[in-house]
Symmetry: C2
């Protein structure tokens, strides 16, 4: 299910939003709510919403009749938010800004999806609502923390979904489910009405089958929000990406010796194939030093930023740690020992790494990395829940800390039938410029959409803007 | 002593750099090194430097032969840095970037000035090297923490000096000594080679007798520095200040009920006179709510940012607290109790206040505030060293936290012969745009320069750039 296909059907009159909603609820009834969903919007309410759309002009609603899902750390008015923790649940009176924007554009919310509790995890298994699996293998994890949001799109229950992404939660599950996973720069999508994980780093993310769909959702959902102090109002020219309109560009790749796949034997070749594909699209690979990015990642995983997770639920965790997922409780409780001095020591190191990477960016326009080094089975995660979780974030952890934009792109199937994925990483505010290239790359590497048999070739390519977003013609006179 | 006057004399051949150096050392010999200075560059070395200048082209050196001083938390190669604490002293092998730039432009370093230990204080009394006094009253404090740097300029020992400013240390002593005190936005002047106070907030500041001199020093000393991770490379258009080239502008003033002078009876009228003067220069006063700025200030003074002071000397303080100024040791030791959770809680509050103030800025181009509410005698500070220190920062504390630019401007003499001062506060990177207005305002309110009888009227006015710094003519096409 994707936006373009649905809009074609609506225009042809072969289906209606109400029929789509009925079909979705029928499938959920047969498959069960958990573990993909935590809760559904009541069917009657969704049908009323679909009916109300019939009185509106589809040409004025860019997401007319498009069913979507949101991760259960994103508020929907008068509907419980759990963040994956039943004891924490509350019922907000107001929807998150992003939800309100998507609904105003005609999208139809189906329900709220499963997640690693408090968005703490990249596995998808840290939830009392069950552990979703990759749509390609019931033995393998879905990835997380936006587990249900990825699976809901990959299994065709909705056309798009929102996740959140602090260290890779919007990208790792995209790879494991053959999806586009867009993590915009910080502050591009409002986090008002989103339960924070690390409030200074959190991004709302977008899962879709195609880059064109991600662009359509980004266009609707982004923008300044006075209710979110971390919302960003880009200045003119910010995010300028002249490479996006050029016929050639340069992309950073780590030295082969720096690559880590933690024992996986298929992904190295698929990553090389992605490099070859990007070269065929006009890209020139430039080797760069991954070390400063990995050093920044270490600060996030083994440093004081975990205190942000504690800050947000400090009252709750003191009273209810026993009602939390034990791994999540252990991780977040560890935050209490960090001092403000520890924070500043790490902040200084991060600033140093940030400047190192700014230098590195002068040699290339974007970076191409595996989205995750490998995947794991549920059993493997149960054996080593923290270490293997960390391994999943090897290529994603540093992106939010360094305020970069990223698009996870499906990058072909492994011999064992599991999907591989790569991520295009751009500078701050380059998210819109990355998407047409993500589309071209996906077309080089991939044939089917999500977990379906639908062909990517049946969708319309996403063209780069003739003048790239944010570019200015300017005359400096002062 | 000021740059313009010295250059006039050099051009006329009525004096030479060597003669100026001799005169300075003669005065210091008669007045004593302490409490203004912590250490001097050896006279022979300074004379060699002056002699070497004779082989260079004065027209190519914007600060040719200009004697200056730096606060003793700023490194000078092969000369001890104490930060006001003898037990902490070390001898760097490299000069701070700003010192190297000023020397390369022809300036002659005389020595290193006294300061509140570890730049922790606004009083100037927290030093084992003695407590400087205002050049206008031996009973009154000089202000701090850049105490000696202000007094050295006000007493005509040097033409300009560098201080540092984290919460007002470059502005409060400017008021108490009838000087221009320029605190640029964070990262405009490199802090490489400067002992940090709060590394994320510290700014190198400039003391001069005139705004034109401050502009000349800013021009030389500013610029990106790869050695300072917090150095800033302004993007084109950043700091655009169209008001600076317009004939009218709007300036924020607090509601009268929000003003605090802590018992002083002269300064309220002088502040009103400054408002009147700024109106006569084309300004329209706009009342604004001081509360979010004061709330941000509270975070600095009573919150986890003090942990930055601890982070920088954590090893030292554990071994040498007894060798520190007791007030400074007490303040910095208090930082150990803050947790990383405390830091993030405060960071979220700061972000909220930052957004509140961004809204407020839409109503005006700059802010006019008293530089300090009042001054104190040495005896008054001894009575209440912490509370009265805090009162001094009432109008300065929030500026660095909110990443604003500021120029302290002499604003007339009180009936008791002590100077009053006001500060023009601009948006980020507006420092260069503020200076011509500071010059015009000083000319409205003030007659003499520093602690001298020299007349401001004898100096050349600083004109605004015809197109203000940072302004772009731009056509948005994408």
């Amino acid at each position: 299910m994707n936006i373009e296909a649905l809009h074609r059907e609506y225009a042809a009159g072969t289906t209606t939003p109400a029929q789509i909603v009925e079909a979705i609820f029928a499938r959920i009834a047969s498959e069960g709510v958990h573990p993909v969903w935590i809760s559904l919007i009541p069917k009657e309410q969704v049908l009323q919403r679909a009916a109300a759309l019939q009185n509106q002009d589809p040409t004025k609603l860019p997401l007319y009749g498009i069913p979507f899902a949101v991760k259960d750390n994103i508020d929907v008015a008068n509907h419980p938010t759990t963040a994956g923790c039943p004891a924490y649940a509350f019922t907000p009176t107001e929807s998150a800004t992003v939800v309100a924007k998507l609904e105003a554009a005609g999208a139809i919310l189906i329900g709220k999806t499963n997640m690693d509790q408090f968005a703490t995890g990249l596995v998808g298994t840290r939830s009392p609502y069950g552990a979703p699996s990759s749509v390609f293998s019931k033995d393998h994890i879905s990835g997380g923390s936006s587990s249900g949001s990825a699976v809901a799109v990959a299994s065709g229950l909705v056309a798009f979904s929102l996740g959140t992404d602090t260290a890779g939660s919007g990208r790792v599950p995209a790879m494991f489910n053959n999806l586009i996973g867009l993590k915009p720069s910080r502050g591009v999508l409002s986090t008002h009405g989103v339960v924070p994980a690390c409030r200074t780093l959190d991004c709302v993310s977008i899962f879709t089958q195609t880059a064109a769909d991600a662009a359509a959702v980004l266009d609707v959902a982004s923008g300044p929000d006075p209710k979110d102090p971390y919302s960003r109002t880009p200045t003119p020219g910010a995010g300028a990406s002249p490479w996006a309109a050029a016929s050639t560009f340069k992309f950073g790749v780590p030295a082969p010796s720096a690559l880590q796949f933690f024992g996986d034997t298929h992904n190295p070749a698929l990553y090389q194939a992605a490099i070859t594909a990007l070269k065929s699209l006009g890209g020139e690979p430039v080797e760069f030093d991954l070390a400063p990015l990995l050093a920044a990642a270490q600060l996030l995983y083994k440093g004081p930023w975990v205190a942000e997770r504690y800050a947000v639920i400090s009252d709750f965790i003191q009273a209810h740690a026993a009602e939390m997922d034990p791994t999540v409780a252990k991780i977040i409780n560890g935050a209490a020992s960090y001092t403000a001095v520890d924070y500043f020591d790490s902040a200084y190191k991060l600033q140093h790494h940030l400047r190192q990477t700014e230098q590195a960016w002068k040699a290339f326009d974007l970076i191409l990395l595996p989205t995750a080094p490998r995947t794991f089975t549920h059993a493997e995660i149960a054996e080593s829940p923290i270490e293997r979780n960390s391994q999943l974030g090897f290529y994603t952890n540093f992106v939010n800390l360094l305020d970069l934009s990223a698009v996870a792109v499906p990058a072909g199937m492994r011999p064992d039938g599991l999907p591989f994925g790569v991520t295009l990483i751009g500078k701050t505010l380059a998210e819109a410029a990355l998407l047409p290239l993500a589309d071209s790359l996906q077309r080089k590497l991939n044939q089917t959409l999500g977990g379906s048999k639908d062909l990517l070739a049946g969708t319309t390519p996403l063209k780069p803007a003739t003048t790239p977003t944010g570019t200015l013609l300017m005359a400096v006179v002062g």
